[in-house]
C-alpha cells in the first residue's frame, strides 16, 4: 500500500479488466498487419462470447452429471475462437475476394455480430428457462488459479500467480505474436503484405492467403476476448449470458491498436493502462480523500482518458510522420492486382 492507495488490489483489478482488451487488441493487430482494417472487433467479440457460453452449455447438457469442467472450459475457448475466426473469415471473403469497402464491411460485421451474439445468448436463456448459466465445475476452471507455494507468497503471489488461465493465455498470445511478427519469415511476409501488397505479390507471396489467414486468426483471438468476458469476468455473473456484455470494449481495442503502435509488446502495456484507468476510480478517490475529504473525480473523467490519449498518439505520429509508429501503409485499402 502507498498511503491509502491499495496498489495490490488495484493492479489485480487492472489485469482482470485488461485481459479482454489485450485479446482483442492482439487479434486486431494481427489483422491490421495484413493490411485489413477490420472495424468488426466488437462484433467478433460478441460472437465469441455467445459461442463460448453456448458450447459449454450444450456440452454440459449432453454429458449430464459426468460433465468435466475442464473439457467444458476448453470447448468454450475453442468454439469461441472459431466463432470469432468465422467473423474474420466473412470479413476476408467480402473485402479480399469480393472487394467490398473495408470500413463498411467492418461495421456490417459489428452489427451482425452484436445481433448474433445477443440472439444466441437470449435463445439459450429461453431454452434454459430464464437465464443460461454454466455449472460450478466449469466456473471454477475460469476462476483464479492456485499454485502451491507461488500463489501463497504475500503480494507477489496475488500480483502474478492468482489469475485465471485466460490471463496467462493472453500474455502467451502476445509473446507468440511478438515472435511471429519479428523473428519469422511468415511474420516478415505478413508485414510486407500489409505495407505494400503489390511488392509482396511481385516477390511471390500469396497476398490473398495471408490476408485470409491473418484476418481469420485475428478474429479468433478477438473471439477469445469475448469468451473471457462471458465466462471469466469477475463478479457474480461469470458463466452467465448478459445482454450487451461486450459493451464497447471492441471499440476500445481498436483504439488500443493505435495506442500500441501496432506492436504486441506495447499492447500489453496499453491494455494494462486502459484496464487500469477503468479500475482506477474505485481506488483513486479513497486515496484522494485521505488528505482531501469530499474530493471526488467523476468516473467519466477516468473513462475518457484512454480515448484522449489515443487521439494524442494519432496526432503525434502524424506530425512526426513516423513510419515506425503508424498504421501499416496498405491498411484500409483493398489490393487489386489488376490495378497494380
Amino acid at each position: 500500500m502507498v498511503g491509502g492507495f491499495d496498489f495490490t488490489n488495484f493492479f489485480f483489478m487492472a489485469v482482470i479488466a485488461a485481459t479482454p482488451l489485450l485479446f482483442a487488441t492482439l487479434g486486431e493487430i494481427l489483422t491490421e498487419k495484413s493490411g485489413s482494417l477490420n472495424l468488426g472487433v466488437e462484433g467478433m467479440m460478441f460472437m465469441g462470447a455467445a459461442a463460448g457460453i453456448a458450447a459449454s452449455y450444450f456440452y454440459e447438457t449432453a454429458a449430464g452429471s459426468g460433465a468435466s469442467g475442464i473439457v467444458s472450459a476448453l470447448l468454450a475457448v475453442l468454439i469461441g475462437f472459431l466463432a470469432g475466426a468465422f467473423g474474420g473469415f466473412i470479413y476476408s471473403l467480402l473485402t479480399v475476394t469480393l472487394r467490398a469497402n473495408q470500413n463498411v464491411t467492418g461495421l456490417a460485421l459489428t452489427i451482425f455480430g452484436i445481433g448474433a451474439g445477443n440472439l444466441i445468448g437470449e435463445l439459450l436463456g429461453i431454452r434454459a428457462g430464464g437465464f443460461t448459466t454454466v455449472s460450478d465445475s466449469t466456473k471454477s476452471v475460469f476462476s483464479g488459479i492456485s499454485i502451491p507455494f507461488l500463489s501463497d507468497i504475500p503480494v507477489i503471489g496475488r500480483l502474478f500467480f492468482s489469475y485465471n488461465f485466460m490471463v496467462y493465455l493472453a500474455v502467451a498470445t502476445a509473446v507468440l505474436l511478438i515472435v511471429l511478427l519479428n523473428k519469422t519469415r511468415v511474420g516478415l511476409n505478413l508485414r510486407g503484405v500489409g505495407e505494400n501488397p503489390a511488392t509482396a505479390d511481385a516477390v511471390g507471396i500469396n497476398v490473398t492467403k495471408y490476408k485470409y489467414i491473418a484476418a481469420s486468426v485475428g478474429g479468433g483471438i478477438c473471439g477469445l476476448g469475448g469468451v473471457y468476458i462471458s465466462m471469466a469476468t469477475v463478479g457474480g455473473n461469470a458463466g452467465t449470458w448478459i445482454d450487451n456484455c461486450i459493451a464497447g470494449r471492441g471499440w476500445i481495442a481498436v483504439a488500443l491498436v493505435i495506442f500500441a503502435a501496432w506492436r504486441p509488446s506495447r499492447a500489453i502495456i496499453g491494455a494494462l493502462l486502459f484496464g487500469g484507468l477503468s479500475a482506477l476510480w474505485l481506488y483513486f478517490d479513497p486515496w484522494l480523500q485521505t488528505f482531501l475529504p469530499n474530493a471526488s473525480i467523476p468516473q467519466q473523467i477516468y473513462n475518457v482518458l484512454p480515448f484522449i490519449a489515443t487521439i494524442l498518439v494519432l496526432i503525434f505520429t502524424s506530425i512526426r510522420q513516423s513510419k515506425e509508429l503508424s498504421q501499416p501503409k496498405a491498411c484500409g485499402t483493398n489490393y487489386f492486382r489488376e490495378e497494380r
Binding site: 469480393l98 452489427i111 468516473q299 467519466q300 480515448f307 494519432l314
Partner: protein
C-alpha cells in the same frame, strides 16, 4: 522444395504449348465491367436482399417458426396500421438525416465514422437551451435557437478531425471514432452529474423538456420528417449542381488532381466536414426535440453507425437513402412485433440487418466485375 516442383512442371509444359496454357490460366478470372445496365443493377441487388432473407428464413426455421409468417408479421407490424406506420417513419428520420451527412464526407473519401459523436454534440447543445433557457423566449424562437446550436455544435465536432487531416494528414477514421467516445462520456457526465434531475429520487436522468421546446407534429409525426425531406433536396442540389459539391467530388477522386485544378483542398475538407457534422447535429436536434423530449446517454441509439450503411447501400445518393432508411426502419420496428408474437428476441433484427448488409456489400462485386471461366468462348487467345 516447392520451387523445384514448379520448374519441373514448367519444363514439361514448354514442350507442349497447350499444357502450358492449361497450367497457367486460372479456372476463373475477373474482368472489370465498363457499364452496368440499370435493370441488371436492380436485379442483382434485389437478388442479394432475397438471398439474405432466405438465409434469415433458414435461421427462423431453426428457431421453430414459419419464416413466411414471421416476415409477414414484421411487415404488418411496421406498415400495417397508421399507428405503426408513424412509428416506422419516426425510426427512419434519424437514419435518413444522418445518412446524408455521412454521404457528403464519404463522397470526399473522408471516412467519417464519427456521426455518433456529432449527433450527441448536436443533441447536447440543443438540450442546453431547452433545459435552461426555455423560459427566456417564445417556442418558435427557442426551437430555432436549439436548431442553430445543434448545427454549430455538430459541425464543430465534425470539423475537429478535418483540421488535423488538413494540416498533418492525421487518420480520420480513427480520430472520428475516438471523438464518439469522448462525446459519449461527456453526455454521461452531464447525465450523472450537473444535469441530473434531483426530483427523480436518485435515478440518473435528465428532466423532460418544457412543452415549448418540443417540435410540433404534422400528420402525427414530428416535423423532423419534413426537415429530412428538405435536406434530401438540398443535399442533392448541393452535391450535383453546386460548385462546392463538384469540388467535393474532385477531392474524393484525387487530391492531386484537385490541387492541380486550383482547388483549396484544406478548405474543402474543413467546409465539408463542418456540413457533415452539422447535419448529424440536426439528427440530434430532432431526436431530443421531436422524439425523446429529453437527452440521455442512449440518445443516438446506434444511428450514427447504422446510417453509415444507409449512405453506403444508397451509393451516396440522397434519393435512394429514403428507400434504404425506410427499409431498415421496417426491420427494426418489425422486430419488436415478432418479439411479442413469437418470442423471437429483438436482436434477430440486428442479425438480419447484418446479413442483408453482407449480401449487399458482396453483390456489388458482381456489378463491377464479370467472371470469365476457362475455355469460355469469349476468351481471347494470344
Amino acid at each position: 522444395m516447392e520451387d523445384e516442383k514448379v520448374t519441373e512442371k514448367e519444363n514439361v509444359t514448354i514442350a507442349g504449348h497447350d499444357e502450358y496454357k492449361e497450367h497457367h490460366e486460372p479456372l476463373v478470372r475477373m474482368v472489370k465491367r465498363d457499364t452496368v445496365s440499370r435493370e441488371r443493377a436492380i436485379a442483382v441487388r434485389a437478388a442479394a436482399i432475397v438471398s439474405a432473407l432466405v438465409v434469415g428464413g433458414i435461421l427462423i426455421l431453426f428457431m421453430g417458426h414459419n419464416p413466411i409468417f414471421v416476415y409477414g408479421d414484421m411487415v404488418n407490424g411496421s406498415l400495417g396500421s397508421a399507428l405503426v406506420l408513424r412509428e416506422t417513419a419516426r425510426m427512419a428520420i434519424p437514419l435518413l438525416i444522418t445518412g446524408m451527412g455521412i454521404a457528403l464526407a464519404f463522397k470526399m473519401r473522408f471516412w467519417n465514422i464519427g456521426a455518433e459523436g456529432q449527433i450527441i454534440a448536436g443533441a447536447t447543445a440543443a438540450s442546453y437551451f431547452a433545459l435552461f433557457h426555455h423560459q427566456n423566449m417564445p417556442s418558435p424562437v427557442l426551437l430555432m435557437v436549439m436548431f442553430a446550436a445543434a448545427v454549430v455544435a455538430g459541425g464543430i465536432w465534425g470539423m475537429i478531425p478535418a483540421v488535423f487531416k488538413a494540416k498533418w494528414n492525421t487518420n480520420e477514421t480513427l480520430f472520428t471514432l475516438m471523438l464518439n467516445y469522448i462525446a459519449l462520456e461527456g453526455i454521461r457526465y452531464l447525465q450523472y452529474g450537473p444535469w441530473r434531475d434531483p426530483g427523480m429520487m436518485g435515478f440518473p436522468v435528465i428532466s423532460m423538456f418544457n412543452i415549448s421546446a418540443r417540435l410540433p407534429r404534422v400528420f402525427g409525426v414530428h416535423v423532423g420528417w419534413i426537415i429530412a425531406l428538405v435536406l434530401v433536396a438540398l443535399v442533392y442540389i448541393y452535391m450535383k449542381k453546386s460548385k462546392q459539391g463538384y469540388e467535393i467530388t474532385v477531392v474524393g477522386e484525387s487530391i492531386q488532381t484537385a490541387r492541380y485544378a486550383g482547388i483549396n483542398v484544406k478548405l474543402v475538407f474543413l467546409r465539408t466536414m463542418f456540413i457533415s457534422g452539422a447535419i448529424a447535429g440536426i439528427t440530434g436536434f430532432v431526436t431530443v426535440a421531436g422524439a425523446n423530449f429529453t437527452i440521455s446517454e442512449g440518445v443516438t441509439g446506434g444511428v450514427g453507425f447504422t446510417a453509415i450503411t444507409v449512405a453506403w447501400l444508397a451509393k451516396l445518393n440522397p434519393a435512394a437513402m429514403i428507400a434504404i432508411s425506410v427499409f431498415l426502419a421496417i426491420l427494426q420496428k418489425g422486430s419488436g412485433t415478432i418479439q411479442t408474437i413469437y418470442n423471437i428476441p429483438e436482436s434477430a433484427a440486428q442479425l438480419l440487418i447484418g446479413l442483408i448488409l453482407f449480401f449487399m456489400l458482396g453483390c456489388e462485386f458482381f456489378l463491377n466485375f464479370k467472371l470469365v471461366f476457362k475455355n469460355s468462348k469469349k476468351e481471347v487467345t494470344e
